[in-house]
């Protein structure tokens, strides 16, 4: 009776799943996953797209690395990334026969933040950051960073290892992707970092510029000195490249086969690029300038040709 019904349902489910061919675009939706930095951008775009009558888009935030692994396993249509795809990841995609086009959708200024009650530090050099974050570092107090700073415990919050933010930061500051001390609160979700830093007077954290912009009342952004003086992170310095070494491109990787088979995907991607600057401003990213947008649109056309 009912156990039999259950057996029938399970078998039917298995059969349907079998011919579904993976769970991408299940339910007819476009599936995007990846960076939690780029996630809000894609979500904002998806909302606007839907408001114009477009197809549904689901957006996950499991981190740039996690997103790529799903992307190359043929589970998603779009992979959001806050760094370029690594060679190893590209190889896995090639193995699985997943072809894609890489599109830049915005720029980011990786921001270092401290609690708003932190009134002693305004600017840090790259060397100082390196001393704090390098593997095996034992810096645990602000006075160790600079003798003129007060004796306040240093609490670190940062990105998890699946995060493109982590990869980019460690590469830029410590010289190698993935090289970092391990005793900090790590999370793929930058909002948790916001909560941590804003709740702790001696805290120091890093994440994408948009997360700082949205929480300016709780956090203070540090200027970074890469040898040429202290530069604050903002739209201008990110666009003209003076905020080094922490300005970075944000990407959306789109699967070529999905462009052909999934309804509305091409429209969505085109919509994203055409509105990239406006959405970036809405979601508080650093927008692409018109030249960059045109270049990306051209890439898309070439790929779908």
């Amino acid at each position: 009776m009912s156990s039999r019904a259950l057996a029938v349902v399970l078998v039917a489910a298995a059969a349907l799943a079998g011919c579904g061919g993976g769970d991408s675009s299940s339910g007819g939706a476009i599936s995007a996953d990846g960076s939690s930095t780029v996630g809000p951008f894609t979500t904002r775009t998806a909302e606007d797209f839907r408001a114009q009558g477009g197809v549904d888009v689901t957006v996950g935030i499991s981190g740039t690395g996690g997103g790529f692994e799903r992307f190359c396993a043929d589970e998603t249509d779009i992979s959001n990334a806050s760094r370029a795809i690594k060679d190893e990841e590209a190889a896995i995609c090639a193995d699985k026969g997943v072809e894609y086009v890489e599109l830049q959708v915005a720029t980011d200024a990786l921001t270092n933040v401290v609690n708003s009650a932190n009134d002693w530090v305004k600017c840090l050099t790259v060397d100082q950051l390196n001393a704090i974050w390098k593997p095996g570092s034992t810096v645990s107090n602000w006075s160790q960073v600079d003798p003129s700073y007060p004796d306040v415990e240093l609490k670190l919050y940062g990105a998890g290892t699946d995060s493109g933010t982590f990869d980019y930061f460690t590469d830029a500051i410590n010289g190698e992707e993935g090289a970092s001390r391990t005793d900090f609160s790590a999370t793929e979700d930058d909002n948790v970092t916001v909560q941590g830093v804003s709740g702790d007077r001696g805290a120091l954290g890093y994440f994408g510029f948009s997360y700082y912009e949205e929480n300016q009342d709780k956090l203070k952004a540090l200027e970074i000195d890469d040898g040429g003086g202290c530069v604050a992170p903002n739209v201008e310095t990110a666009q003209d490249g003076s905020y080094t070494p922490l300005s970075r491109p944000l990407f959306m990787y789109v699967k070529l086969s999905s462009l052909e088979t999934t309804d509305g995907l091409a429209d969505f991607v085109r919509f994203t690029l055409e509105n990239a600057a406006a959405i970036a401003k809405e979601a508080q990213f650093v927008p692409l300038n018109q030249e960059q947008v045109d270049a990306e649109l051209q890439k898309l056309e070439d790929a779908t040709a």
Binding site: E69, D162, T170, G178, S180, T182, S185, G196, G199
Partner: protein, 311 residues
């Protein structure tokens, strides 16, 4: 009970052989299959945990895993010492037990010995409401009410994510479990024992603490063990309020990471099969499963022991 009825007859008459009813056999089979689903579940749990965990232990030595003091599985120079997670789990469970055991036992004693029957009938459903609150709501309460309360009102300098808030709320969550099981144990104590105490001139304090509680002690201990095991297995409250910094510390004001929080944070459903992350989930999950299983077996033993005493 469950046996077929046999009709008593004079021994002389030989009964005809029972005719097999195929419909009944079929029903029996279907029911057995239904019951077997639970066995399949356990097998599934064991398999789904054991196989990847074994793969994991092929790459990481069990000695490093169980005795290492740094948990940094996803970094460049990966370290797989699970002790910080275990310490975090046990510490939170310990502090929550400190809250739940006395309060739970107190509630049980009150309901069993002091409250009028009508009051009890009214209070027990309210206790059930406390038990029904979803843990995500409790976690949110810990983060947004208890932590600021501790900082501002009580003056304890806790981190924004700390073990104390999570433990307090977790302890409150466990009170219904401990109270209902302890109260059941105390209700099973025959009235004669209490009446005997009163007849000898004891007052209620003495009867409760020196007669009833000792008589119900194994049921109460079983309740404690079960409560502790639920604390060990709880995820949402610690995930939201206790944080994600795996460190060995015994100071409840600090941020800690429990086994369950690690699994919940890492296993966002998108962990790719075969990666080392995927496998750490299983190794750690297996550790958790074994811990709660052992505690549960202990508590079953204790319950069985106390059940026999009065029958």
């Amino acid at each position: 009970m469950s046996a077929d009825v046999t009709v008593a007859r004079p021994a002389v008459v030989a009964l005809p052989r029972k005719r097999i009813r195929w419909g009944e056999q079929f029903v029996h089979l279907i029911l057995f299959i239904a019951a077997a689903i639970s066995v399949l579940t356990t097998v599934g749990i064991v398999l789904s945990l054991l196989l990847p965990a074994l793969e994991f232990f092929r790459e990481v030595s069990p000695l490093d895993f169980f005795t290492g003091t740094t948990w940094a599985p996803l970094f460049l120079d990966a370290q797989f010492g699970v002790l910080p997670l275990v310490v975090g789990t046990l510490m939170i469970s310990f502090w929550s037990a400190l809250v739940a055991f006395p309060l739970g036992l107190g509630v049980a004693i009150y309901l069993s010995e002091y409250a009028a029957p009508r009051a009890t009938a009214f209070l027990k459903p309210i206790l059930e409401i406390l038990a029904a609150i979803p843990t995500v709501v409790l976690g949110y309460f810990a983060l947004t009410f208890v932590t600021p309360f501790l900082r501002d009102q009580v003056g304890v300098q806790v981190e924004i994510f700390n073990a104390l808030s999570a433990s307090l709320v977790l302890g409150i969550m466990l009170i219904p479990t401990i109270a209902t099981l302890s109260e059941d144990a105390m209700a099973a104590v025959p009235r004669d024992l209490r009446d005997g105490g009163y007849a000898l001139g004891a007052d209620k304090l003495q009867v409760s603490t020196r007669i009833v509680v000792p008589a119900a002690i194994s049921g109460i201990i079983a309740a404690f063990v079960l409560g502790f095991s639920r604390a060990v297995g709880e995820t949402m409250i610690v995930l939201i309020a206790a944080g994600q910094l795996a460190q060995i510390t015994f100071d409840p004001r600090e941020t800690v990471e429990t086994i369950t929080a690690f699994i919940g944070a890492t296993g966002n459903g998108d962990v790719p099969t075969g990666s080392i992350e995927y496998k750490t989930i299983f190794a750690v999950g297996l550790t958790l499963f074994v811990m709660t299983l052992v505690m549960n077996l202990i508590s079953i033993r204790l319950v069985r022991k106390y059940r026999e005493v009065y029958e």
